[in-house]
């Protein structure tokens, strides 16, 4: 076999013939590795002085009369959190416009159902404290990342269209503009919208182009683009509400449940200066969302060596290169969670990750990799811990991973819940459907 480290034989595989090996001694290699662990793996503040806080430029644009900023007001009852760079981020806790996720709604509907269920149980009034309506598309960034057919201009126009709708959505329910603040369910949408907001604020040319489109759609206010003060992810809402969820709603002891967390890449790797970190959560080396929620519920949170890895979703790959997706997710996530952490459950906070890790376990048997771990969103686990029905609310029937064992370990009878749900399906067939809120609200009706 050829020595792949020899430059004249093609260099290190996949890295190009120009690549030169370092020839480090073992001690030097160890020192270099330590540097990486200290400077890169540890998510300490390292670049904050070189990065502009885009929100400051947003205030200037607003002051110059170029844009309208959709403000978070006191009535949204915001709670402050700290981001990676120590910046403050305000998370509104009520009057929220649910920006749905196509993956969650299409594939894992227990996400949005659990979220609305928790909001209802915390006393929120549908139609006043939150709104779920039909007037929205997804961010459409799956096409951008998957095919390259989407482009920045189209993503910016979709972002502004959807968030304009959020801004004006209160009107038909008798509220002022800006009453509802957008709450983004999807990790991809969250990352995409933040990236696009940055481009919009930095580029006058992009603003000019999309203003023409938004004007044509009637989606400007006084000829101005509407941009939200913060782009907020549902996991951030769960994060700031975790102690209320645990103290007011939790009914199940979680102390015997071993939890591993997988946070969506596009949550904390795109515009990562905005991701929520807490020095008290895994030493501040991991973004705090999800993990802090599991801690608040009293579960055992287990760190693992491939926490930082992506799930292998790949946008295009899960559809057309499935062997890549399933190999990566088994090798780097599912296998590690089982062998290293003996996890009872792997939590996620994005549809792509949950789908990838949930659906790609069965095929492992064909390759003598029979690793099985229940996969669900952190908000689903929170709802379960608060007594939500595993089928009617948490919608675990759509999951392929072995969630039954986790539910049983939490002291809930899977068989009883399933029998109840099958009986409920008979009622559904007769039209006797139970809703979390008045369905007319989705079409502009009042509560």
């Amino acid at each position: 076999m050829a020595d792949q480290n020899t430059p004249d034989q093609g260099g290190i595989a996949g890295h190009g013939s120009f690549f030169q090996p370092t020839d480090l001694s073992p001690q030097e290699a160890q020192a270099a590795t330590e540097w990486v662990r200290k400077e890169v793996d540890k998510r300490r503040y390292q670049n904050e002085e070189r990065v502009d806080d885009i929100r400051e430029h947003m205030w200037e644009l607003e002051k110059d009369g170029e844009i309208i900023v959709h403000r978070i007001k006191d009535e949204h009852e915001p709670i402050d959190v700290e981001t990676l760079y120590g910046w403050n981020k305000r998370i509104p806790t009520k009057q929220l416009w649910h920006h749905k996720s196509c993956g969650q709604c299409g594939n894992i509907p227990g996400y949005p159902a659990s979220l609305l269920w928790l909001m209802n149980n915390l006393g929120m009034q549908p139609g006043k404290d939150y709104l779920d309506e039909t007037d929205q598309t997804s961010c459409t960034a799956w096409n951008y990342h998957g095919s390259g057919i989407g482009n920045v201009e189209s993503l910016a126009a979709v972002f502004l269209r959807n968030f304009h709708q959020a801004y004006v959505s209160g009107k038909q329910h008798g509220y002022d503009d800006g009453h509802f603040f957008p709450l983004v369910h999807c990790g991809t949408s969250f990352g995409n919208y933040k990236e696009i907001r940055k481009y919009l604020i930095e580029s006058a040319e992009l603003r000019e182009k999309v203003t023409k489109i938004l004007d044509k759609l009637g989606r400007t206010v006084d000829g101005k683009l509407v941009i939200p003060e913060e782009v907020v992810h549902y996991s951030e809402w769960v994060h700031v509400m975790r102690n209320r969820i645990a103290s007011e709603l939790q009914t199940i002891d979680m102390s015997n449940i071993r939890v591993t967390m997988h946070v969506a890449c596009h949550y904390y790797k795109m515009i990562h200066e905005d991701a929520v970190y807490d020095p008290n959560v895994l030493g501040g080396n991991r973004t705090a969302i999800g993990t802090a929620m599991a801690q608040a519920l009293g579960a055992q949170v287990i760190d693992y060596s491939t926490w930082y890895d992506c799930c292998g979703f790949g946008f295009r790959h899960i559809i057309s290169e499935r062997e890549f997706t399933r190999s990566f997710t088994i090798d780097r996530k599912i296998k590690v969670a089982q062998e290293e952490a003996q996890a009872d459950v792997m939590l996620g906070n994005d549809t792509g990750c949950i789908t990838t890790m949930d659906k790609n376990q069965w095929i492992g048997k064909a390759h003598n990799q029979p690793y099985q771990v229940p996969i669900m969103a952190e908000v689903q686990l929170a709802a379960l811990a608060c007594g939500a029905d595993p089928f009617k609310i948490v919608q675990l029937q759509w999951h392929a991973s072995p969630v039954e064992e986790l539910v049983e370990k939490m002291g809930i009878s899977w068989a009883d819940a399933k029998a109840n749900f099958e009986a409920y399906l008979k009622e559904v067939e007769k039209g006797n459907i139970e809703y979390l809120y008045n369905p007319e609200l989705a079409y502009g009706g009042t509560n």
Binding site: N107, L206, C310, G314, L425
Partner: protein, 221 residues
């Protein structure tokens, strides 16, 4: 070839994504695609950084399609480069110029593109069925039943749909089609897959007619 390279470097995102490179390889170390393909984010950065025009062109034939767009590379790079972001620019340029390799890579992705461009939802319940994903196993859902009934059992009205992830209003769809037209998304699609473009055009025309009819009905009322 030089024109292709210039188009990449003149994209307004380019300066965001490429600041410099020490060839440290941190980006490649945890790149999922580097585990399974002849692909390295470090190589992409180096080719662009050293203005290796010919190799950039070659990488656009296949390698750029290995990237999973997770942006792990971007989060880890000490120089704040984003190899994944550079790949995004290269993909768009490849499509704009109708690279045959891009057409081949994207062909199996057509079903998702059809769904996205016509409905604004990338995934819908009728797409994720066991017959389309045999490798997801026999236990893909834990309760047997008619798909529409199972959807109706979700306690959120907007989600009780089968052909879309949630119910999208006609007005919303029509606004999205205008965005696709005005931003060149439909032109890119036509370059990539003319047959798919024709199908989507027909669908859009039909939806627009439905919307016009609906508006007329509202006026009559």
């Amino acid at each position: 070839m030089q024109d292709i390279f210039n188009e990449i470097t003149q994209d307004f995102r380019y300066d965001h994504e490429l600041n410099g490179c020490l060839n440290c390889g941190i980006c490649t170390a945890t790149c999922p695609s580097a585990h399974f393909y002849d692909y390295s984010p470090r190589e992409i950065v180096q080719l662009l950084w050293t203005e290796n025009v010919e190799q950039v062109y070659n990488a656009m034939q296949e390698k750029i399609w290995a990237c999973a767009q997770c942006m792990t590379c971007a989060a880890r790079c000490p120089f704040r480069n984003s190899p994944g972001g550079l790949v995004m620019i290269m993909r768009e340029v490849a499509i704009k110029h109708g690279f045959e390799s891009a057409k081949q890579v994207l062909r199996p992705f057509g079903r998702v593109m059809l769904k996205l461009i016509t409905t604004g939802n990338q995934l819908s319940p009728d797409m994720i069925q066991p017959d389309a994903f045999p490798d997801w196993g026999p236990n893909i859902q834990k309760v047997e039943g008619d798909l529409q009934t199972l959807r109706n059992a979700i306690p959120v009205k907007t989600l009780q749909t089968v052909e879309t992830a949630w119910e999208v209003s006609l007005k919303t769809s029509v606004e999205m089609y205008t965005i696709w037209e005005m931003t060149g998304v439909l032109s890119s699609l036509e370059t990539m897959d003319e047959n798919l473009y024709d199908v989507i055009e027909d669908f859009i025309d039909e939806k627009r007619e439905d919307y016009e009819d609906w508006l007329e009905e509202q006026e009559e009322d």
